[in-house]
Every structure is written in C-alpha cells, then in structure tokens.
C-alpha cells in the first residue's frame, strides 16, 4: 500500500482506535486481578487499578481456606475432561460414517440432525426428560444432554468428506474395518480439525453454568462457574463455613475475596489461551468453509 500522507494520518487514527479498544478489552480483567492482590482496606476506595494498591494475598488465603472452591474446581475439571472425551468420540463416531458416500440413509439422517438445529422441544421438555432419566443431581446431567453438537458434527463430517476418497476406498478394499480406517488413517490426518473441535467443546464445558443451576441441587456437585456465581450474588459470608476470622473483617474482605474467586475461575483460561489461540482460529476457518 502506498504510504501517502493521508494514508499515514489514517494509520495513526486506526492504531489509536485499536489501542483504545484493546485497552477496554484488557483493563476490566486487569482491574479484577490487581484488586484481588491488593490490600483489602486500600482497595475499598475503588478507582483505577493498573497496579495493586498495597500487595496482599489475604483474599486468596481466605478463599483457599474453604473446601467448596476445591470441590467446585474438581467437578469442573471432571466435566471438562470426561465430557470432552465423550464429545469427541461420539461426534467423530457419527461424523465419519455420515461422510461416507455409500452410507445408506445418509441424506435422511443428516437432514434429521440439521432439523434439530432449527427446532427444539425447549427447556421444559428437556428438563422433564432428564428428570425421568434419573439424572437430576447427577454430574452426568452436565455431560450427556450435550454429547454431540450438531454444528461441530457437521464441521467434522464436512472435513472428512473433503479428504480424498481414495484413502477410504483403497483401505476398505484391502479389508480394513471402518474402525481401523478411522483410527489409523483418517484421524491422524485430521489432527488440526480435531484439536479445534476438542477445544470448542472444552471451552463450553469450562464456562457453562446454567445447566448446573438447572440440574444440580447439592452443593458438593457444583461446578466452578456456579460456585463463583453464588459468591458474587450472595453478600453474606456465611457461605465460607470454615474460616472464622472472616466475621471480624467483614465487608472489607468480602469484595476482595469475590475478586480472588473471579481470578481463580478465569486464570486457567487466561494461561492456556495464548498457546491454543491458533487452533481456535483454524477451527473457525474450517467451520466457515462452505459446502
């Protein structure tokens, strides 16, 4: 592009706009992190937090004194790891056969699955179904209803369809079973797509909160986001059963502990994200390829 004078002015304008937008994106996160490691008394006044106001890890200490946070963490990790594994196996298990041209009923089944993306029974019938399956208050209620995302399944299917059909045909003629073909030939080639889809599922599991609110009643089975939510919406500290010095500090530390809980809930994502960013981007690209 030619670097004319007016071009340069526009560059400055664009850079400034992007800097402002980037700042507005990052500052809220920074605010919370800095608040959480600030001295609770000094932080109470509010204001801008580019750096902590007096360093203090008191809020984290108080947070980790409760056992609920560890239980919630454990539950979320379980749901994310086990859930994503089940997601991937089931999604690929359906996507691969549907990608084979000679699969009878392929079009009908694909259409029926596509239909579920357009129309659904709604929240209440699904709730009643989960209830009748005896899954209320079970951690499986957080995994099973969302086992296969039709959207992700179609992305996988389209990707498999895009692979040269000679791969499958020649292996099949050589007498290989579909399982073998899938695991030895198709999946190894599809690694970038599989990584992206797995990450999509994992992020959804990590961040989901509503299904836990809906289906789970006992506190010991709560996930991290729901735990965070209960910390944010109830101002009474009676939640924190184990710590006794909380009552003395009262309101001062309440806000700081809330900040600490937020940080604890979002840190894994913040840490993991820069490394996995490129997989997400390729995932979107793959998903947006037409046909």
């Amino acid at each position: 592009m030619s670097k004319t004078k007016s071009g340069k002015i526009f560059q400055y304008i664009f850079v400034i706009i992007l800097l402002v937008y980037g700042f507005m994106t990052l500052y809220p996160v920074c605010h919370v992190i800095m608040y959480s490691i600030s001295d609770p008394k000094k932080a109470m006044g509010g204001g801008l937090f580019f750096l902590p106001k007096g360093l203090s890890f008191e809020s984290f200490r108080l947070l980790f004194q409760t056992k609920e946070v560890f239980i919630a963490y454990r539950n979320t990790i379980f749901v994310t790891v086990v859930g994503t594994c089940i997601n991937m196996i089931m999604t690929a298990g359906l996507a691969y056969p549907l990608s084979i041209r000679r699969f009878i009923g392929r079009n009908f089944i694909s259409l029926a699955i596509y239909f579920t993306m357009l129309f659904s029974g709604g929240m209440i019938p699904l709730y009643l179904l989960v209830e009748s399956l005896g899954l209320i208050d079970s951690i499986w209620a957080l995994i099973l209803p969302g086992t296969i995302s039709a959207w992700n399944m179609f992305i996988m299917r389209n990707y498999f369809q895009g692979l040269p059909c000679e791969l499958e045909e020649s292996a099949s003629l050589d007498g290989a079973s579909p399982m073998v073909i899938l695991f030895r030939i198709i999946l190894p080639i599809s690694k970038p797509m599989l990584a992206a889809i797995a990450l999509f599922y994992a992020v959804v599991h990590w961040n989901s909160y509503f299904n836990c609110i809906l289906y789970i009643n006992t506190q010991s089975k709560q996930t991290l986001q729901v735990f965070l939510r209960s910390m944010l919406t109830y101002t009474s500290m009676q939640q924190m059963a184990t710590a006794t010095d909380l009552d003395a500090l009262g309101e001062l530390t309440e806000e700081s502990v809330k900040m600490a809980t937020i940080v604890v809930s979002v840190i894994p994502m913040l840490i993991v994200y820069p490394f996995l960013q490129k997989y997400f981007v390729t995932g979107i690209m793959i998903g947006s390829i037409k046909g």
């Binding site: 030619s2 670097k3 007016s6 071009g7 526009f10 560059q11 664009f14 937008y21 994106t25 990052l26 809220p28 605010h31 919370v32 509010g46 801008l48 089931m90 298990g93 359906l94 691969y96 056969p97 000679r102 699969f103 009878i104 259409l111 029926a112 699955i113 659904s120 029974g121 929240m123 209440i124 019938p125 709730y127 009643l128 179904l129 099973l144 086992t147 296969i148 959207w151 079973s177 579909p178 961040n207 909160y209 986001q225 965070l228 939510r229 900040m259 809980t261 937020i262 809930s265 979002v266 913040l270 994200y273 820069p274 997400f280 981007v281 979107i284 690209m285 947006s288 037409k290 046909g291």
Partner: protein, 324 residues
C-alpha cells in the same frame, strides 16, 4: 429364441423392489461396522432432541406441579390463549425483540468495523498482538463477566466514581447494571466486549480472500483509499455480511439467554426479561410446566419459520451457503 423389434425389457414391479431390497441388505451387511458406528450418535439425537419434541404435547394439557401427569387433561389451546393475555409473556416478547434489534444494530456491525480497521494496519506485529488481545473475552464465561463488570461499575468500589471525581462530578454515582435506563445498553456493550473480537476472524478470512490484483489494478488507475474500500473491499464482504445478517435476523427470538440470565437482577427485570428467561421462571421456578412449554412452543415455531425463511433467503444470495 431371438427377441426382435420393440420388446421392452420390463421386469415386473415386485421383482424390482425385491432386487433393491436384497441389494440394500447386501450393502448393509458389507458395511455392518460402519452402520454400527453411527448408531450411538443416532440414539443420542433421538433421545435428547426428538423425544423432547414429543414433550411439546404437554403444552396442550394442564400439567403442572398442582396436577401431575396422571391427572392432567387435554385443554387444547387454552394455555396459548392465556399466554397471550399474560403481562409477563408480553413483556418478555417485547424485551426479546427490542434487545435483539439493539444487538443487530450494534453488536452485529462491531466485528465488521474492527476487521476493516485491522485489515488496514501496516504493522504486522501490532496487528497480531491486537488480535490476540481482542479474541480473549470470547473465552471468558458470562459469570466471570458478571463479576468483572460488577466490580468495574460498582458504586462504591468501582471505576466510575473515581472517573467522575476526576472530571469534577461529586454527586452520587449509580451502578448502571441496576438501572432500567442503562441496562439494555449494558447488555449490548458486554455482548460486544465478549463477541466482537473473536467475530473478526470470519471477516478477516473473507477480506484475505479478496484478490490482491484488484487492489493493484485500482492503485494503477489512481484510486484513493476510499475508492478502494468502496469499490473493492466492501463488495468483497457483501455476501458474507448479508448472509450472516439474515441468519441473525432469523434468530431474533433467541436474545442470548446465558448472558441475560447471568447479568440481570430484579431491578431490571422490566427491561430485560426475555422469552427464554420467562420460560425458565414459569417452568422451573413456578413449576407451571404446561404453561411455560406453551411459551416455548410459540418461540420454537415462530423461530423455526423465521430461520427457515432466512436460510432460504441466504441460499438465494449465495448458493454455496449452508453447512448442511
């Protein structure tokens, strides 16, 4: 014997069907494992997507916590009539449409504008850094967002008070998350915060696919930046934008439940209770199963019609469109 003339080699119908049936059986047997592989997935969709569709029938009964399934009787469209006269439902419908329109007006263009600006930046490192930064909120849950912005806008410990002091305002500062006049703007704002950055990916990919020779030729012809943008960049984005816009419009009844449920509070129910939150409140909160399912059915059917029409429109514009 020799057959001559117009003898047509017609096999009788029953023979033809029998042959087809045998062929199918043979193919099924050959690829047995392939079909077996697909069965769990199919069972999943039948169980968790089609069975609940059948549950829609309870919208036509008076099933609720007061009348268990065994006692519930068929009452036809009574639930629906009641629904359309209910204050809560009409408010929810109104809010749903208003919030969706706000999102169409503001949240929809945001990633496009960002992508256009990003596309113009010369410094590649700066561009990549900005992209890494703006994709981040997509990975943050709405509950964390609740926490973050509650802290920012808190009237006592937040940022607004300090900013107001800096410009000389010393009156009381209110939390915009609790005000009816600002809450919808807050919803749209946080929606942009979370989704606009990541949303640029799709548009950047489209922009990258515009033939650079077009730009080169335009420059040779003496086109200014504006002319280049108007005649090359925007038309290149046009079909993507139109298709996505149409699809968004089709989902107008789906105003972002996870966001609203996480962020709203009793102070702002009046302006932000939407269909889905209303359904949750009636159905799970008050156990009025059949009544809320009726609302759900309304939403699903209208939504279905809208989505089918918009998908059909989208296909007309770009016949390659469609994940199916």
């Amino acid at each position: 014997m020799n057959y001559t003339g117009n003898h047509s080699y017609k096999v009788s119908n029953t023979k033809r069907y029998k042959k087809k049936y045998n062929n199918i059986i043979r193919m099924l047997r050959k690829d047995k494992l392939l079909y077996l592989m697909a069965i769990p997935g199919i069972i999943y969709f039948i169980l968790f997507h089609y069975v609940p569709m059948y549950g829609i029938s309870i919208a036509f009964t008076d099933y609720s916590i007061y009348k268990p399934m065994s006692e519930a009787s068929f009452i036809g469209l009574e639930n629906f009539n009641k629904l359309f006269g209910t204050f809560g439902f009409n408010r929810a419908l109104r809010n749903t449409i208003i919030i969706s329109i706000y999102n169409l007006l503001f949240s929809f263009p945001a990633p496009i504008i960002l992508a256009l600006i990003l596309n113009e930046v010369w410094n590649k490192t700066f561009k990549r850094t900005v992209q890494t930064v703006i994709y981040l909120p997509h990975f943050i849950s709405w509950i964390v967002i609740l926490g973050i912005f509650s802290a920012i806008f808190s009237s006592s410990t937040g940022v607004i008070k300090r900013l107001a002091e800096m410009v000389g305002y010393s009156g009381k500062v209110q939390n915009i998350m609790n005000l009816q006049s600002t809450f919808r703007a807050f919803l749209v704002g946080t929606n942009i915060w979370k989704t606009a950055g990541f949303g640029t990916i799709l548009y950047m990919a489209t922009l990258a696919s515009i033939n650079p020779e077009l730009y080169e030729a335009a420059i040779v012809d003496g086109a200014t930046r504006w002319q280049q943008t108007w005649h090359i960049t925007l038309p290149g984005l046009r079909s993507t934008i139109v298709i996505l816009l149409i699809m968004r419009a089709g989902r107008i009844l789906n105003a972002n439940f996870e966001q609203i449920y996480a962020l709203y509070n009793p102070f702002v129910y009046e302006v932000s209770e939407v269909l889905e939150t209303y359904i949750y409140k009636m159905g799970i909160g008050e156990a009025k199963f059949s009544f809320s399912t009726a609302a759900g059915v309304f939403k699903a059917i209208i939504g279905f019609i809208l989505v089918v029409v918009t998908n059909w429109l989208a296909k007309k514009i770009d016949s390659d469109y469609g994940i199916y």
